[in-house]
């Protein structure tokens, strides 16, 4: 998958210079961190001071560090690493990074004149790194030929990586300035890409595949530890809980869209159903139903109601073509919103308080644990949102479990068959209607479940929280992240919820960019950022090369390459 921009002849004659170019680039980057980037000391956390790097200057120096490491590696020409790819990624991202910062400096301080020497030095460095990457020879790497570590050591690597991840996330969320936040993200992509692109990433993937359970465990551990890094502050936790709710709902939608291949444009209504049921049965002073059962019962009622709506809306429309389903679900979403809007006693019975919604929903209280209180664990205070965070994390884990287990079962195979060729699937005895309805109602059920918690977390429900745009957002989390995968949805949900929260400066253009993103994604990468292989194949039906590539990967994953067949890892992969 290497893109060769330079002609082979140039690569041949100038190839040997590549390590030195890279070294120069790296050193320039390191140097730039010690220089001043901006004349104006009020912006971007003050980049005007020389020989005292901070913030963005520090990120630039990290580019330098990795650049130098890769240059040294390139000099020693190890046969099992491909620094060229790493350099290309590092260099290209470096250019983006520097240009972004120079542009921000120029914009915020009112002119390019305010961009000081540091940025320009770094820009030269980035160009040199990129050039070196394109000049140096490509090495075919097979990570499985790397020396094997003991399995304990592999697990240690995983744990260390997860710890790094935890710190990075905590650090990232602490950045308040939108521009610095964006530049850190760019830097992160460049640095991680530069290191992992060398083949290290493939190796990590290999280790991960061999230790799937420890990896999962470590990932969840990291997620559970996250609130402890926040030192009792609720600011980031509030965002985190919203990311979790969004991710959970999007994952439910991914069952419908990604697995069963049904386009649901009114999915938010199911989340709303759960939330409204929880609100109506809560002990809020505005609740319209006198009955106030314990929350576990409420959860089940909410989810069951949502699932019932799913069945009601699904059973007539799933018989006709998928396009109709999309529009009918859209209509259903509108019906839901309008009904919630109307059922206020003026028009129909008083259930929802109409447009005003049901506010003042009290915090959850489960087994004597009050979610509204601050609890101190190991000396670290955990506020209200941290409490919800834990519950939501459990819910997310449950939805992930449902998702993966359904996918890897008879039902999952049926869904694939339906996506591939519905008529043939039916002719082969697959109950297509039943399976589609199942996907639809399971998706609704899970969304309803999430909704019941959301109502308490939000403390209020109102119809304007459940508009079509929210459904579109959920759908794009799935589309952006990757259809049919868990990781994809997590990535998509995080991007869609976190970025607007952090980049408030450009908030007005959020929807515009988002619409454009959908079109561009469908055009160039319809399968999403982290797609399932099968989904990728489906979206590239005519791409024979891709199918053979993925085929080879599949065989590799199944350890069918006779040379590499190692029984213990076969077990690990299952």
């Amino acid at each position: 998958m290497s893109r060769r921009i330079l002609p082979d002849s140039v690569r041949a004659t100038h190839g040997p210079k590549a390590p030195w170019l890279a070294l120069a680039g790296g050193i320039l980057f390191l140097l730039s961190g010690l220089l001043s980037w901006s004349y104006d000391d009020r912006i971007l956390g003050d980049l005007s001071i020389r020989f005292y790097p901070a913030g963005i200057q520090l990120y630039a120096m990290l580019f330098g560090v990795i650049g130098v490491i890769l240059a040294v590696l390139l000099l020693r020409r190890p046969p099992w690493l491909s620094p060229a790819r790493g350099l290309r990624i590092l260099g290209t991202t470096g250019i983006v990074f520097v240009v972004w910062i120079i542009a921000s400096v120029a914009y915020q301080s009112g002119g390019l004149i305010n961009a000081n020497e540091g940025g320009w030095v770094a820009l030269v460095g980035a160009v040199l790194l990129t050039l070196a990457g394109h000049l140096s020879p490509e090495v075919d790497i097979d990570v499985r030929r790397w020396p094997r570590l003991s399995s304990t050591l592999e697990i240690v690597i995983i744990v260390v990586l997860m710890a790094i991840l935890l710190f990075t996330v905590a650090y990232t969320l602490d950045i308040q300035d939108g521009v610095i936040f964006a530049s850190f993200l760019i830097a992160l992509i460049g640095l991680a890409g530069g290191l992992l692109g060398t083949g290290f990433g493939g190796y990590l993937g290999f280790i991960g595949a061999n230790n799937r359970r420890p990896l999962l465990l470590a990932a969840f551990l990291v997620a559970f530890l996250f609130p402890f890094t926040q030192d009792g502050s609720d600011a980031n936790m509030s965002i985190a809980t919203q990311v979790l709710i969004f991710a959970t709902t999007a994952l439910g939608l991914n069952i419908v869209v990604g697995l069963a291949g049904l386009l649901d444009l009114g999915y938010i209504a199911f989340l709303g159903t759960g939330a409204y049921v929880a609100a109506m049965l809560s002990s809020s002073g505005f609740a319209t139903i006198g009955w106030k059962p314990p929350f576990v019962v409420v959860m089940l009622i909410g989810a069951a109601t949502a699932a019932t709506f799913g069945l009601i809306i699904g059973s007539p429309t799933l018989r006709v073509s998928g396009d109709y389903l999309a529009i009918v679900t859209l209509g259903f979403g509108e019906i839901f919103r309008l009904a919630m809007f109307n059922l206020d006693g003026n028009n129909g019975p008083d259930l929802t308080n109409g447009p005003n919604g049901i506010p003042a929903i009290p915090d959850l209280e489960l087994l004597g644990f009050d979610f509204g209180e601050v609890h101190t664990v190991a000396g670290i205070p955990l506020g209200r949102f941290s409490n919800y965070y834990f519950v939501l994390l459990l819910l997310l884990m449950f939805v992930m479990l449902v998702f993966t287990r359904l996918n890897n079962s008879r039902i999952g195979r049926g869904w694939v068959a339906i996506r591939e060729d519905e008529r043939a699937a039916e002719a082969m005895g697959v109950n297509t209607f039943g399976l589609k309805l199942l996907a639809f109602s399971v998706g609704a059920f899970l969304a309803g479940l999430a909704g019941t918690i959301k109502a308490h977390q939000d403390t209020s429900v109102s119809p304007d929280q459940y508009v079509f745009l929210e459904s579109a957002f959920l759908l794009s989390a799935v589309v952006l992240g990757g259809m049919g995968t868990v990781v994809g949805v997590l990535v998509g949900a995080t991007i869609l919820k976190l970025l607007p929260e952090k980049l408030r400066e450009v908030n007005d253009y959020r929807l515009l960019v988002f619409g454009l993103l959908l079109v561009v994604m469908m055009r160039f990468r319809p399968e999403g950022l982290v797609p399932s292989k099968r989904r990728q194949l489906e979206f590239h039906e005519e791409d024979q090369e891709l199918s053979e590539l993925l085929q080879a990967e599949h065989l590799q994953a199944e350890h069918l390459d006779p040379e590499q067949l190692e029984p213990e890892h076969l077990q690990g992969a299952k």
């Binding site: 287990r405 079962s409 694939v416 699937a425 697959v430 194949l537 199918s547």
Partner: protein, 272 residues
């Protein structure tokens, strides 16, 4: 090939009827695609269905398998009337392949066959999520049976290949394996050798005999006359939707109406 002899002797009355189609008629608007066709297939019998393009063979298949609801007539399997629903037809024990291969291209060979097992297994959502012993047993059994069938049709080594990456001939075999996975009593093959070279055609013939020996009845649509007349115990010839001739391969082969029909046959496309 000495099997032809046993086949001709096998076609006698008194054997168990598996499939019976009586007076099946299919009209699309003003067009009568299948006109009053009756057919009876016995246990362990191979029946051929021939006819020029547009004669309504595939449409007839579609009526049998419930993909079309016939305008008139009934189809019975082992004496029970089949409802015109593909799902129920498969459950009752009739499986088919398609003229234009309709595999699940982005699934592996094994997975394709495992989909065929769908209607003979029963784990539903809750079982799949809880992963109890029943689920594990059933999943293992499905996998095992699918591998068995792949071995049976000679694709034992292609288990993990994506269907769309397989050679054409193998795709046809895979479709047969997938159909067999539904535990049918009767198998309908729609042009199983289309696009095959002579060697592959011969292998397919062997496979069909092997299937028949397993006790299944087989109905084959084919254009390759040599293939049909070598394979089948009995041959039906359809022309413009109606049954023209029925008989042993020799009888049909020598029937002048069949020859006429083929020479004068129009070249209309038909599809599923």
């Amino acid at each position: 090939m000495t099997v032809t002899d046993t086949a001709t002797t096998g076609h006698e009355a008194g054997r168990v009827t598996v499939l019976e189609a009586s007076s099946v008629t299919m009209r699309f608007g003003g067009l009568t695609a299948v006109d009053d066709v009756s057919m009876r297939v016995h246990e362990g019998e191979i029946v051929g269905l021939i006819g020029p393009n547009g004669a309504g063979k595939t449409t007839f298949f579609n009526c049998l398998t419930g993909m079309y609801v016939p305008t008139e007539g009934t189809v019975t399997l082992k004496g029970a009337i089949l409802p015109p629903k593909p799902l129920k037809v498969v459950r009752a024990g009739m499986a088919r392949t398609f003229q234009n291969i309709r595999l699940f291209g982005n699934m592996t060979a094994l997975e394709n066959v495992m989909v065929g097992r769908y209607c003979r297994t029963s784990s539903m959502a809750l079982t799949s999520i809880l992963r109890g012993p029943k689920f594990k047993r059933e999943e293992a059994a499905t996998r095992e049976r699918a591998q068995e069938l792949l071995d049976y049709v000679g694709l034992g080594r292609s288990t993990e290949l994506l269907a769309r990456n397989m050679p054409y001939g193998d795709q046809r075999r895979l479709e047969i394996a997938r159909a067999l996975a539904t535990d049918p009593q009767i198998l309908l093959l729609d042009e199983p050798t289309a696009g095959m070279n002579p060697r592959e055609t011969e292998e397919t013939m062997g496979l069909i005999f092997k299937i028949r020996e397993g006790g299944l009845a087989v109905v084959v649509i084919e254009h390759d006359m040599r293939f049909i007349f070598n394979l089948c115990d009995r041959v039906l010839c359809l022309v413009r939707g109606s049954l023209l001739v029925e008989g042993t391969p020799d009888q049909v082969q020598s029937d002048h109406r069949v020859i006429e029909a083929y020479i004068g046959g129009d070249d209309e496309e038909e599809s599923v």
